[in-house]
Symmetry: D2
Amino acid sequence: MKVIADFCLIPMGQGLSLSPYVAECQRILRQMGLQHELHAYGTNIEGEWETVMEAIKRCHVRIHEMGAPRINTTLKLGTRSDRDQTMRDKVDSVETLLNQDT
Amino acid sequence: MKVIADFCLIPMGQGLSLSPYVAECQRILRQMGLQHELHAYGTNIEGEWETVMEAIKRCHVRIHEMGAPRINTTLKLGTRSDRDQTMRDKVDSVETLLNQDT
Amino acid sequence: MKVIADFCLIPMGQGLSLSPYVAECQRILRQMGLQHELHAYGTNIEGEWETVMEAIKRCHVRIHEMGAPRINTTLKLGTRSDRDQTMRDKVDSVETLLNQDT
Amino acid sequence: MKVIADFCLIPMGQGLSLSPYVAECQRILRQMGLQHELHAYGTNIEGEWETVMEAIKRCHVRIHEMGAPRINTTLKLGTRSDRDQTMRDKVDSVETLLNQDT
């Protein structure tokens, strides 16, 4: 089962700068060979359900190791049984419509 | 690693009544022996990371089998390395403060 | 337009105990006369769109005043144009199905 | 009060193709002059709290008018009192760290 996810991890009790933690999660996603795209409020990930979930678990384990005693993650998970769809497809289908406006 | 989760699954392309799908997810959580509590906008779940994640995957598989071609889940995941905390503890600590108001 | 919301506010840079902040948000919801119900991962709120949104804004303003320099809120918003539905209705419709299991 | 938001609206009971609804929300954000960026699982928005919230309300009203009887929105809201931060800043601070890896 393929999944498109949106992943936003917040370490707590670690001050206000989150970028070192977000960067570490990006490294984990890259090492696991997962398609991913950082945006201003999270990271989109595309892959097999088990691989994506394993990556998210590794992020929690690693961020705790980096010293964060408490972590709060928000995750969206989209699955389809009717057809394959990539992250790129989702953005393209909206942009195609917007381009027809003019 | 223990996790407290908040799970909200929405089947798409299946009409407006979601309760049969939500009820089926409750059955899966119960069968897996996971502590869980339904609220008006999702279900809180408490357990080991792997068990909780396995339950959520089974919910997606089952809801697709029930005919929903597209599913969108929103999930919150809270982990702590400093101490154990239950769903009950989280609610109690707020209510204790509110009870001191009067 | 009526809305059923699920509201979860996390102050950052403020240590690990969130209950004083959550309790303060509960007080604001109560003062504004909004139906609300605390659960282990947020608070369900029911009311007119403008009132609910005003309450959430006041929570952000107040939590900043309490000293939190950075706040991250997760919010779900459900609206319907076909019929009225309360938070209680949503839980009841699932529990009715589950009670028929036995 | 400035806010950076992540907005994901799902119309229900309207079939599986969501792009016409997402495109309409993009038009509303553009008409209101809000900085926004579409990604594969939502849209990041940056602006004054009131303007962003007014835009999201207009999206709900408009999508109901387009025929969707039920809407489910997931929203993240980030505010800071310590300093100004843009959507671009958030992505840049992570990418700067990642670029130092090599």
